[in-house]
Structures are given as structure tokens and as C-alpha cells.
């Protein structure tokens, strides 16, 4: 059996297993609330596995090792930031957001600012960030299948798109939780097993000598090159503050039972993520020894996939390659599934809902339509986008999230003076500037000097600008501070075990209007749907 055949079998197995686990989850998915947030009834370990599974995307599985191979250990910052972002999210945002009862970021925006316009802008941004994050997943899938079997890029891209659709269409979030928990462990095993084999070889001193041409010493010193300080700070900011603005991450905190469970979950997530992120570093190191030619060929992203077959021959090499391929597909599938659920949730609530009739049935029909739409859009964008390295594309998605939703969430939760106009201005400035940088990078723009540096890592400039704009415009329009801000603040900050009426919130924009006085009433009539 060839390596290609073994890899194809592994990828098919992962896809089938994913669908099977999804079908198991489907049996326990009953209501609209199940469909979106799994009824808040998921235990910390399962939930943490699911969060980690969803979070470890193509960028973590392929991209991180590729970057460390190509650019050295300063890229360690990417995984560190990805992990620490969860801490910031937990301490400042998770609990108040959970208490708010809003399912999505646009829900929160509308609830806090009592404005339908803020909701619309937020929805647009969720879709934009979601698509931006989906592109590298599909890219990674195309790359993987091409590396292993020689198939054209679109084969892998379409394969992932189809499996994601099949996953999401019937089950919604509950089945997704099971799928993603399963994927975390698969990814960990897929990267760990070859390392055990390497260690075994090392111990029996049968390790091949490798190309040996590379001086390992020149890359263990972190941060080299021009503007290293700015670029790294910018990356750190983007990852620390972008995590809370990723639509598929935030929604996960609703699936915890209470604040205590949410904290437990975060602890487990950090352990799982840190355990995982040591592995790409090791692959980067081993890649320096055995596969450094990939850098010159511009294929650093494939180091994880190619390393096993370069070191081991015969059945062992094939088997390990197939395992790694399976893990890579798990990475693409779980992250894209989570993203598609989030993007489709927003699309169906804010765009399609009105056309598909009322009630649970109409809601689910809109959700399914939105799923197909979101996947089709992402595939189309993947076809047209240039070959940006997988981890770079994800960095940019983080930068956009950090420049938009981070200031909205932090100021919204911790500052009473925020106004709807302030938020819109901030979202437009932060989102507009960071998106410009993304588009410029995607189309290969490369400017000299500081301007080019800022375009490469925009977060350190765009995040403070977004904050400043929101605060400044809010102060200027302070007469329009939301009418129910006091009530909303109680709802966000009163501890959960304080048994008071927090009011309720209706996610349907046609009913929860922004007109004065109606907001609170509309929010209140929905309690049974949410908690039922």
C-alpha cells in the first residue's frame, strides 16, 4: 500500500467517524437551545476537550510547526498568545457575558447598547471574521491532500466543505460538542505517536543523521530581524485580545452550567492547549534537522505531514503519515465546524430568519440555509485568495477580532458611558483599518519601512485606535447613553447565585427593537424559550 492510499483511507475514516459521533449527538439534540448552545449542560472535561478541539485549527496543527521551522523560535509567541488569550477572556469577559444571556456577539451588542444598528454592524463583523478564519482551514485541507496524494488543491477544500455541511446541518451545537471533543484527542495522538517513534529511534541510537546542514544554534535565539519588538508586541496584542472576539470561542462559554464550571473548563483548556503546543515546537526542531529544504521550496506548512516519511521507511512511515493526515483533517473539520455554526447562527438570525417563517421550525430551516451559504462563501473566497501561509491568515483574523469586538466587550462590560454611536464608530475604524491590512497582505502588498511593518501586524496600532475612537465618540454623544444601562449592568455583574430577575433577552431583531422603552419589554417575554 502506498503512502497516498494509506492517507486517503485515514482521511475517509476521520470523516466517517466524525459523522458517526455527530449522529450520536443528534439523538440528544431536541430544542432550539440545544441546537445553538447545547443546553448549557456539558461537563467541564468534555467541554474543555471540545473547546480545545475547536481552537486547535489548521494554524496550530500545520502552521505553528511551519513557522517555527521557517522563522525560528520567536514564533513560539503565537501559541503562547493563543493560550493566554483564554486567561484574558476568562477574567474579564466570560462571566458577565454568560450572565447577560445573549447567545452571540451581536446579541450582546444589542442587549448592552439597545440599538439595532450596533447589532447589524456586529453581525457583519462576525461573518467577516468567521470567513477570514475559515479560509486557512480550507486552504490547509487542500494543501494536505496535495502533499500526500498529489490531488489538486480544490479536492481537499471541497472534501472538508462537504463533511462540515453534513455535520452541521442535522445536529447543531450539541453534536458539534461531541465531535470537537473527539477531535482534540485525535489531534494530540496524531502528533504524539510519531514523536514516540522518534524517541525510540533516538534511544536505540539508530537516528539517521539528517541533512545536518543547518546550524541549529542560529534559531534558538528569539526575535531577530528588523522591527522585531513591534512585530512581536503586535502579535501578542492580537492573540491576547483577539481570542475574546472570535465568534466560535465566545459561544463555547455558554455551554457551561455556571461560573464555577466555566472556570474549571478554562483550567482544563489551558492544560490541554499547553500540552498540545509543545508538539509543534518539537516538529519545528526536528524539521530543522530533517526537512529544512521545505523552507526554500516555500512548503514549510507541510513539515508535520512530511517529517514521518522522511525519517521512517516502509510501513511505519506510511502508517505515521496516515495518522498525521487524520489529525490534520480533524483540525480542519473541528475548527471549520465551529466557525460555520457561529457564522450560520448570525446569518440565520439577522438575515434569513424573516423569510423562513416563525417558530422553532422556521429558525432551524433558516439555520440550515445559512450553513450552506456560509460554507459556499468560504470555499469561493479560498479559491480567490492568494497563497498566504496558513498561520499568517489566522494571525490576521485575530488582529481584526482584537481591533473590533475586544474594545466593544471590554468597554461594554466595564464602562457605563459607552454609547451605540461610539461602538459603531470604533467598530468601523478598528475593523476598517485592520481589514485593509488583511486585504493588502492577502494580495501580496509589501511596503518598505514602518508602514509595511504596520500592515504586516496591524494590531498594535488598530487596537488602541479602536479603543480611543469608542471612548471619544461615546463621550461626545453621552446624551445617548442607553436608557437601561443600570439594569443591564446589574444583569452583567450581579453574581450568578444572586437569585434576581435579570430580565430576558430576545435574539430576534424584529421584536427586540431599539426604540426607547421597548427594549426592556421585548427582552422580558422570552424567558421560557431560553431556559426551556
Amino acid at each position: 500500500m502506498s503512502t497516498a492510499a494509506a492517507s486517503i483511507i485515514a482521511v475517509v475514516l476521520v470523516s466517517v467517524a466524525t459523522l458517526a459521533v455527530g449522529a450520536f449527538g443528534l439523538r440528544v439534540s431536541r430544542t432550539m437551545s440545544d441546537f445553538y448552545v447545547a443546553s448549557r449542560g456539558v461537563g467541564p472535561i468534555l467541554n474543555a476537550s471540545a473547546i480545545s478541539g475547536e481552537y486547535l485549527s489548521a494554524a496550530s496543527f500545520l502552521g505553528a510547526a511551519g513557522l517555527i521551522l521557517a522563522r525560528g523560535v520567536d514564533m513560539l509567541w503565537l501559541p503562547v498568545g493563543w493560550t493566554a488569550g483564554y486567561l484574558v477572556l476568562l477574567v474579564f469577559v466570560a462571566a458577565p457575558l454568560r450572565r447577560s444571556g445573549a447567545y452571540t456577539l451581536p446579541d450582546f451588542a444589542q442587549l448592552r447598547l439597545e440599538s439595532i444598528h450596533v447589532r447589524r454592524v456586529s453581525s457583519l463583523l462576525v461573518v467577516a471574521i468567521g470567513l477570514l478564519y475559515l479560509i486557512p482551514q480550507f486552504q490547509g485541507a487542500g494543501l494536505t491532500l496535495r502533499t500526500l496524494t498529489g490531488a489538486p488543491l480544490w479536492v481537499g477544500q471541497l472534501a472538508v466543505a462537504v463533511v462540515v455541511c453534513l455535520n452541521v446541518l442535522p445536529g447543531g451545537m450539541r453534536s458539534v460538542t461531541f465531535i470537537q471533543a473527539f477531535h482534540y484527542w485525535l489531534k494530540l495522538v496524531a502528533l504524539l505517536t510519531p514523536l514516540f517513534f522518534f524517541a525510540g529511534m533516538w534511544a536505540s541510537s539508530r537516528m539517521p543523521s539528517g541533512s545536518g546542514a543547518v546550524d541549529v544554534a542560529d534559531w534558538v535565539e528569539p526575535l531577530q530581524g528588523d522591527h522585531a519588538l513591534y512585530l512581536t508586541y503586535s502579535l501578542v496584542l492580537a492573540t491576547f485580545f483577539g481570542t475574546m472576539g472570535l465568534p466560535h470561542v465566545v459561544v463555547r462559554f455558554y455551554t457551561n452550567r455556571d461560573g464555577r464550571a466555566a472556570r474549571r473548563t478554562t483550567l482544563v483548556v489551558l492544560v490541554l492547549l499547553a500540552a498540545f503546543y509543545v508538539l509543534p515546537v518539537l516538529y519545528g526542531v526536528l524539521g530543522r534537522m530533517f526537512a529544512f529544504d521545505l523552507v526554500a521550496e516555500g512548503r514549510a506548512d507541510t513539515v508535520v505531514l512530511e517529517l514521518p516519511s522522511r525519517v521512517f521507511e516502509g510501513a511505519v512511515g506510511q502508517g505515521l503519515t496516515a495518522l498525521v493526515a487524520a489529525g490534520a483533517f480533524a483540525a480542519f473539520l473541528s475548527t471549520s465546524t465551529g466557525l460555520v455554526v457561529s457564522v450560520a447562527g448570525v446569518l440565520s438570525q439577522d438575515v434569513l430568519r424573516r423569510g423562513t417563517g416563525p417558530g422553532l421550525r422556521g429558525g432551524i430551516r433558516a439555520f440550515r440555509l445559512a450553513t450552506v451559504l456560509a460554507v459556499a462563501l468560504a470555499v469561493a473566497l479560498t479559491f480567490v485568495s492568494a497563497g498566504v501561509p496558513v498561520a499568517r491568515a489566522v494571525e490576521l483574523a485575530f488582529a481584526v477580532a482584537a481591533s473590533t469586538f475586544c474594545p466593544m466587550l471590554l468597554l461594554g462590560i466595564w464602562w457605563r458611558g459607552l454609547t451605540a454611536r461610539g461602538v459603531i464608530a470604533g467598530l468601523v475604524v478598528g475593523g476598517g483599518l485592520s481589514m485593509t491590512a488583511v486585504v493588502a497582505t492577502t494580495f501580496g502588498a509589501d511596503w518598505e519601512g514602518w508602514f509595511g511593518v504596520i500592515i504586516r501586524q496591524p494590531a498594535a496600532v488598530t487596537v488602541p485606535m479602536a479603543f480611543a475612537t469608542m471612548v471619544l465618540v461615546s463621550v461626545l454623544t453621552r446624551a445617548t447613553v442607553p436608557k437601561h444601562v443600570n439594569l443591564t449592568m446589574v444583569r452583567l455583574h450581579a453574581p450568578e447565585n444572586l437569585d434576581l430577575d435579570r430580565g430576558t433577552f430576545h435574539p430576534d431583531p424584529s421584536r427586540a427593537g431599539s426604540r426607547s422603552g421597548e427594549g426592556a419589554t421585548a427582552r422580558r417575554d422570552n424567558v421560557t424559550v431560553r431556559r426551556g
Binding site: V80, L90, T232, R263, V281, P495
Partner: protein
Amino acid sequence: MSKEAPERVDDDPNVAMQNSAEFNELRTKFRKFVFPLTALFLAWYFLYVLLSVFAKEFMGTRLFGNITWGLTLGLLQFVTTFAITMYYARWADRVFDPAAEALAQKMGGHQ
């Protein structure tokens, strides 16, 4: 819960509760713990980057083999992130939640 529920205004008992001394104390408690903690951990991350740029010699010093201070401190960032989260979770379990619980008991009469 019906649509006819009375309009909420700022003399709502919940809002009064928010302005009460106990509630403010609870929020102050939270801020006093969380804000310095955050400042501390951000400082530690940014210090690492500063060291990497301005103390290259030190960061490039080998501990053993190809393992340098830079690499070691970098991997330690994961450990500190976990330690800080652990510390926060323990604090929330032991200090903050009981205080919130006490307030809940006291406010129980409102509902």
C-alpha cells in the same frame, strides 16, 4: 413572565441593590484582585519580549545542549499562564463566591 410586566426604571429594587454598599464592596473586591493580577501577567509577557530584544546575550546563553534561556523562559510562559488561572479560580472559589453567596442570602427577600 408576560409582556405586560411593568417597565423597568431606575428605582427598580435591583438597581437600588446595585447601589448598595454590599454590592459595591463585592465589585471592589473583584477589581482589587483582578486588575493588579492582569497588570502583573501582562508585564511578565511584555518583559519576556523586551528581554528577547535587548538582552539577546542573556537569552542566547545555553543552559544545556541547544536549550537556551530564551527557549526555557518561552516555554515557562505556558506554565505561568496556567498558574495564574489556577490562582484566579481558587480565589474565585474561596473568596469571591462565598461573598456573593452571602449577599444573595441577604438580598433573598427581594424576589
